[in-house]
């Protein structure tokens, strides 16, 4: 798998494949960071289809190839900032989400995009317990979804996306906390109202709909001002977390006039 280089990539050094594939939050496979690497191997990702519906002109079932054909793939090296105050740099391969939505034909009334992850407890052992309200759900405002930084990723380094990273197709929204970047997507719905989101449903005082990376708005139980870079070594310390995870120049305009301490 190869993707065209992009001006939107960071020049920071990416984490190793080992780091990216062995430290994951993907509760469908268990709550431990190593659980996805251990248990995601059995997930069947081919055949796969993504149901696109709601306020679109061409609703229906799309294959991963329909959505992310080889000739459209780009490499996007993005910072990833987890709400748990750790971070990585990841070389994704994927396509802009805007192009995918255009393919389905977004109708003028659509204001939000809702996403859902696969539910298949026989291959996703974490789903046999009600840790979260399955399926995992996430959502974006339509202007966020259409932003050039938002992509659907199908690859990592030069290979297809490993299962523990959300194969075969996942969202990547680099200016938001990692939990917004929903994995193993089977459903995309355009709606006129703000969709339900899993973590927001579970604990609305801790996880908001926007979940933009913001060093000035702390999680009620911990500070978001700094982060630990995974793989940096035992005594590398912490680094400052930049506003919008360093993508403020591109995305700050989306939130002009909004009180970000209320819309966290």
């Amino acid at each position: 798998l190869t993707g065209k280089p992009s001006g939107l990539s960071t020049d920071e050094a990416p984490n190793t494949l080992e780091e990216i594939t062995n430290y994951n939050n993907f509760y469908e496979f268990g709550t431990g960071k190593e659980d996805p690497a251990r248990h995601a191997g059995n997930l069947t990702t081919d055949p796969w289809s993504v149901e696109i519906g709601g306020l679109v002109d061409r609703p229906g079932s799309y294959s991963v190839d329909d959505l992310a054909p080889a000739n459209a793939l780009e490499e996007r090296i993005y910072r990833l900032r987890c709400v748990e105050a750790w971070s990585m740099v990841i070389p994704w391969i994927g396509v802009p989400l805007a192009g995918v939505l255009d393919k389905a034909g977004v109708q003028p009334g659509a204001k939000f995009v809702a996403f859902e992850t696969l539910v298949r407890p026989e291959e996703m052992p974490g789903q046999s317990r009600p840790i979260l309200d399955w399926p995992y759900r996430e959502g974006l405002r339509i202007d966020e979804a259409m932003h050039p930084l938002a992509i659907l990723a199908t690859g990592l380094y030069d290979d297809a996306l490993p299962n523990q990273n959300g194969a075969p197709i996942r969202l990547v929204v680099p200016w938001k906390y990692g939990f917004k970047s929903i994995k193993s997507i089977v459903k995309i719905t355009l709606t006129d109202s703000q969709p339900r989101c899993t973590w927001q449903d579970l604990q609305p005082s801790e996880y908001g709909f926007y979940a933009n990376v913001n060093p000035e708005v702390n999680h009620p139980r911990w500070s978001q001002a700094t982060e630990r870079r995974i793989g940096s070594g035992l005594f590398a310390g912490r680094q400052d977390t930049p506003m919008f995870n360093g993508y403020a120049d591109q995305v700050a305009g989306l939130y002009q006039g909004m009180d970000l301490t209320k819309n966290y």
Partner: protein, 208 residues
Amino acid sequence: MAQVINGYLRRIPVWAVWLGAAIPLALLVWDTLTGGLGVEPVRDIEHRLGRTALYFLIATLAVTPLMRITRISLLRFRRALGLISFTYAALHVASWISMEMGFLWGQMLTDVIKRPYLIFGMSAFVMLFALAVTSNDSSIRRLGAAGWRRLHRLVYPAVLLASIHWIWALKLWETKPLLVLGMILVLLALRVLIRRPLGRRPAKVQTN
């Protein structure tokens, strides 16, 4: 039976307890150096040191009930067990300051003030510190036996705070820290319910 065991125990030097207590630390260093802790070792290092500190503190608390119930006496080793617990607690705090927080004193201070589970952990550590620096014969002489004993009752709030600190630090309710808290409560209850050694008196009655 208890006398036989006590006879054996008397032959174990206190330094052997310290040596045994170094095994969890050695295993942790080994796992760290050989990559056994995965791609993000800091959290594991921190958590294992903290758990070990709490386990040794529980061992310290078990000495008295064990003696009252079975007459097996580990009293000679109790000071060492307490000091070992403090040593692991100090390493746990040191790993948090250096590895997890990277010496960001300002952020640590606001975190400790704002986050209840850190307040609990820090209070427990301060109490253990007071106990550790007075765990020597000259402190007992200086404070007097009664005063020293009163000070060392801090071990009870310390062990409870440390245990709740663990439960609270997690995102979800997990079984292991809850079981450990249960064990601590049982040990504390035993001290209250069984106030003196069991056994000897009925035996005396039978000889009549």
